[in-house]
Symmetry: C2
Subunit: 684 residues, 2 copies
């Protein structure tokens, strides 16, 4: 049963397993539609890349129609991919879903897909160029028929794109499901997903390469940097940029942590000494974000996503509306009036967010009351236990904050879904904005209140420490250990089950079991939560760390473990995600920059409030405030000027991009010149 | 002598003079190089568009070489244009320069030039598309052989581009001038200009059309809007955008002026009532700039410059350096190390600017001293004459400011030239920045001092009025009347001279005299000074107008006359400028936005300082300041959020642009699909 299909091969750059099975797959595509058992006999030549899971009671006619459309030639409107049912459609056990399909394709198909997508690859001269089949031989690492030229992540991304752009022709609905309406041009996969007929579509892990990646990434304790290129090779650019940012952020914090330690050790109780630290904070948070943009551009250029043009964005799977004609494409598709969406945003979402902010403010006030009680209790009879009691309100508050954030997150997702955004990017932006505002308020409101209304620096330091430590512990637990523990239990169950059925000689699972195992793994929901966590940490460090110099040290420590736990999570806990060809960290760059502007304001205020500075203006507090405000405005202006002055893309890459642009202009001119000369020869 | 060459025709859309002389000019190009008299015999068919003026003692060999290169076929590296010497090389008088050359070309050459330049024209379906010869018939207004399709300004722009990209082949220097070095790829025209062999290159006016434009623009008093499309048609997009902005700015000021009048009449002495006016200012200055961006995008889309790709930028004519290889183009060209330029900027230019600012501060202090003397004089013996004396320091200061601005302007130009920028755009940015900072400081420093240091609102109002009125009068004089008067004197002299030689039957000058007349006209130096003036006016209105509500009224009146004087200046005083295909007002948008941010700060401060608001915080001035600062930060944040929220391009144009993008992607895909199907047919 289930012949062990080789899962590494022509896509990955796998020097250990030379692949000889890349040509001649075309035969597979010619098989007639339907569930072919015959195909499995030649499965030694088939490299499954992506898994499609349909619900177990999917109607037979829908399945055979879908498989036919996937296998059909491109000029007939098909995707021209190879597809096979896992385990020949016979479920090993009754409870198992038989409708798992493996998808692969020929090398030639992948290369033409890479050209369609406009993937950028390294050229022989070291520059990055859009891949074309016509001059494929001039690309670096293109040997023979192109085996190993594309990474497996790229192959899977291409297949995903081809599947998502598989469009209905003249079908009015999915066969067998009259309620699942189709219209010419509608993406079939998106309709299957939105109607719940398709459970999921995910790329398969590459066990061998994953092992190597894990080893070089987190299985050995080391102080060297992460293997970003390998991460990109396996998980794609979006993931790699996240890990790059995490690492960059950690290293950027090290100077601050180094300054923080002696501060903490020697001047810990000397609050009026924090001015220098605040000034350092000001400079630091302005510069690191600018430098990150340059570093990120360097990475994105090397990975070929910097100058890649985005394809036309399709509507989200969940988007609904009345059928009409898209004014851009002229295609029939659901339309939803923008006015209605704006009404939903401004009349429901905005009031809801404001209500939540009010609620969060209310919770904060309760916290301050509890804090007051605990302190008065401690002041009456100070014992060891009451000393601990003082910290308890902060801990409870930190836990409540995390819970509120979690609940709010679900509400925000629901609301943003309900706002019915046409594009995934617009959906993401609205979601990020909602979540950010609330999280920012929830996490920092109490600190702002303590710092600027109560002006109690001792309490501020204490609250900051408690919030930071509690949220770190909670995060690490919720993010890595909990899913790991759940996953481990599930895995063990499965392995035990498999062992019961057959004796495993080597530790590797047979393909069928491996696919089922991966299908059951949790889905990685993108880098959203990871960035959000970094954003809040950045806030703790940049806004108030001058009163608690150990904050940077704590964040650095947290980030070091975060690298490991995130890496572990990506490799072992979650399904492999599709790669996401990101050129930058997107809306998060903006969020971090907004935070750094707020940091200028808080740090200037903290400096203005420090006894050290106050001593310079003994007679007039008004003078002090005016000076503080003037200097703050000056720093803000300088910050904006710096943002303009420092180019976002380093000079060498600017030159490379300009060169490419220039060459394409010249080529166009030359082509036109040739045409005119030929024309003038014809018409003398 | 000098046969009257017809100067309107195939380029302009001139319905009065049908043109029948557009084909068959090719013959002209075939004439052998050198100064051909024969060519003039068929000059009835030649439409001169651009004039080249070489110095009168240019060596014969340089002229014949240049003419040969201009006439040579494109595949030989020539410009393939037609060129003729004005008046057959025989100067009518001894003092006149014989080396004026008229340049024209065939219709076909212009159309292919338009394609090279990527000019956007209106398509049959109403969208704007890049012009191509292949589907020229599908463009709107393309009839027959394309007569009247391109405006004369476009034709002249194409010729300018073709002349500027006329490059040296294997010449090592300009014949006859061994010191005028050339290297392969160097633009010949730029070298001639930088060595002073070429005096100027300018496009000719189109007398008929200019008359019509003048009439509809400024010769009749009317309240309707300016004919922006016609201005663009005659002068190009850069000019039309300036006049569009001037008009937009004027209309945007009208509500403020309308509110200002009753304020002035009834509440004039009631300084604590200015809060409402300041709040209005705040909202006004934020919104109008955002709306202008949208309006400007609409104009630029309609004129085809919004989505036009910029061609590769050539080095400026004055740029010098050691010969090396440009890393982008790979061509040999002078290189100048960026470090050296930065050193010049930061070690010379920046200190110089700071020194000038200090000097300006010093002058300001002298002004305040004079003001103090005058006031004390007036207070001792108040008569009518001392009442006038009080205004004299302000008037003197305003005049001194204008003079300082003028001197500084020359210094800034010299310094920026000396900084040796490679690109014209970089030169312009550095120049604008230098001039802006100084002008801002010079014009507004005294007002800031009065408002925030002296806190004397009466003096502020008085200074604002004097500065504004004086600078307006000075500007109108310097800008329009002076050049007009000079020009008129020159014109009269010339016409008298011509009359002496021959009796003019009609009022039109013969071509040769007309060309000489235009060659002697002052050169229009671009929109820089016009925008600068608007920028300062915008500053007066947005920063402090709440204390002097008549400011907006004065600026509106000034702008109405400014439209007329600028229009008059463009049409009658200056040489016709080459059109400049601008898509927006460039760096000025940024300057105006920076000013509106400063306006938020000043208006908030003025509100905070008003007795009305102070009354709300009777006991604590500190509270007042903190609230003012908090509200100011809130407004600034809102401003930035608004900038993000309001899309820069209106929705319908966004859709048009997306449609174009989508269509080109689809066309590419279809082409690729066809290639693959053909390929698969060949290789079965």
């Amino acid at each position: 049963m289930s012949p062990k299909v080789r899962r590494q091969g022509f896509c990955g750059v796998n020097p250990l397993r030379p692949s000889k099975h890349c040509s001649g797959e075309r035969a597979l595509v010619e098989y007639p539609g339907g569930l072919v058992k015959a195909a499995m006999q030649s499965s030694e030549r088939f490299t499954p890349l992506v898994v499609l899971e349909l619900v177990s009671d999917t109607k037979e006619e829908a399945i055979s129609w879908l498989l036919h459309r996937i296998r059909d030639k491109q000029h007939n409107g098909g995707a021209e991919l190879m597809v096979e049912q896992l385990g020949h459609g016979e479920a090993a056990e009754e409870k198992q879903n038989p409708n798992l399909f493996l998808i692969g394709t020929s090398l030639q198909r992948l290369l033409s897909g890479a050209e369609d997508l406009g993937l950028f690859k390294e050229f022989n001269d070291g520059s990055m160029r859009g891949f074309t089949n016509a001059n494929k031989q001039n690309f670096k690492n293109f040997h023979g028929d192109g085996d190993g030229f594309l990474s497996m992540a790229e192959c899977q991304y291409i297949i995903k794109h081809e599947l998502e752009t598989l469009r209905a022709k003249d079908e009015t609905h999915i066969p067998g499901y009259t309620q699942a309406k189709l219209y010419p041009g509608k993406s079939i996969i998106r309709r299957l997903l939105s109607k719940g007929i398709m459970v999921q579509m995910f790329p398969l892990h590459e066990t061998e390469e994953l092992k190597r990646l894990s080893f070089s990434w987190f299985k050995k304790i080391k102080l060297s940097v992460q293997p970003l290129d390998e991460i990109r090779h396996y998980f794609g650019e979006g993931q790699a940029l996240y890990f790059g940012f995490l690492e960059y952020f950690t290293f950027a914090l090290i100077p601050m942590a180094l300054i923080g330690v002696p501060y903490y050790l020697f001047d810990w109780e000397n609050y009026d000494k924090y001015v220098i630290f605040a000034v350092f904070n000001l400079i630091w948070c302005t510069i690191i974000l600018e430098l990150w943009k340059r570093f990120s551009a360097t990475l994105a250029y090397r990975w070929g996503t910097l100058s890649r043009k985005k394809a036309f964005e399709e509507p989200r799977p969940g988007f609904h509306g009345v059928l009409g004609f898209n004014p851009v494409t002229g295609r029939e598709e659901p339309l939803y009036p923008n006015v209605k969406r704006q009404l939903r945003v401004f009349c429901v979402s905005v009031p809801f967010v404001l209500l939540c902010l009010y609620l969060s403010l209310y919770v904060m006030m309760i916290y301050f009351q509890m804090e007051g009680w605990a302190l008065s209790f401690h002041d009456e009879e100070p014992t060891f236990w009451t000393g601990i009691l003082v910290f308890i309100p902060s801990i409870i508050y930190a836990v409540v904050i995390e819970i509120l954030n979690l609940i709010y997150r679900y509400a925000a997702e629901f609301l943003t879904e309900w706002e019915n955004h046409r594009l995934e990017s617009s959906y993401q932006n609205h979601l990020v904005l909602k979540v950010l505002v609330f999280n920012f308020f929830n996490c920092f409101a109490s600190l702002f209140y303590i710092a600027f209304v109560m002006q109690d620096m001792v309490l501020l330091r204490q609250s900051l420490a408690t919030l930071l430590i509690t949220s770190q512990i909670l995060n690490q637990f919720m993010e890595a250990f909990l899913p790991y523990w759940l996953q481990r239990r599930r895995n063990k169950k499965l392995i035990r089950k498999v062992k019961r059925q057959q004796t495993l000689t080597d530790k590797e699972l047979p393909l069928e079991q491996q696919v089922r195992l991966e299908a059951d793994m949790s889905t990685y929901l993108g880098t959203f939560d990871d960035y959000l966590e970094l954003f809040l940490l950045y806030g703790y460090v940049s806004l108030f760390s001058c009163v608690y110099p150990l904050a940077a040290v704590l964040v650095v420590l947290n980030n070091f473990t975060e690298v490991y736990s995130d890496a572990f999570k990506m490799c072992c806990v979650f399904k492999r995600p599709f790669s996401d060809p990101a050129a930058n960290i997107g809306v998060w760059q903006l969020a971090f920059e907004a935070m750094s502007v707020i940091a200028v304001v808080t740090n200037c205020s903290l400096i203005g409030m420090s006894p050290q500075v106050k001593a310079y203006f003994p007679e007039s507090e008004m003078q002090l405030i005016l000076w503080t405000v003037a200097i703050e405005h000056g720093i803000l202006a300088l910050k904006f000027i710096l943002t303009f002055l420092i180019p976002d893309v380093p000079k060498p890459i600017q030159i490379q991009l300009a060169k490419l642009e220039f060459e394409s202009l010249e080529a166009l001119k030359k082509k036109k010149m040739l045409e005119t000369t030929e024309l003038s020869k014809v018409q003398p």
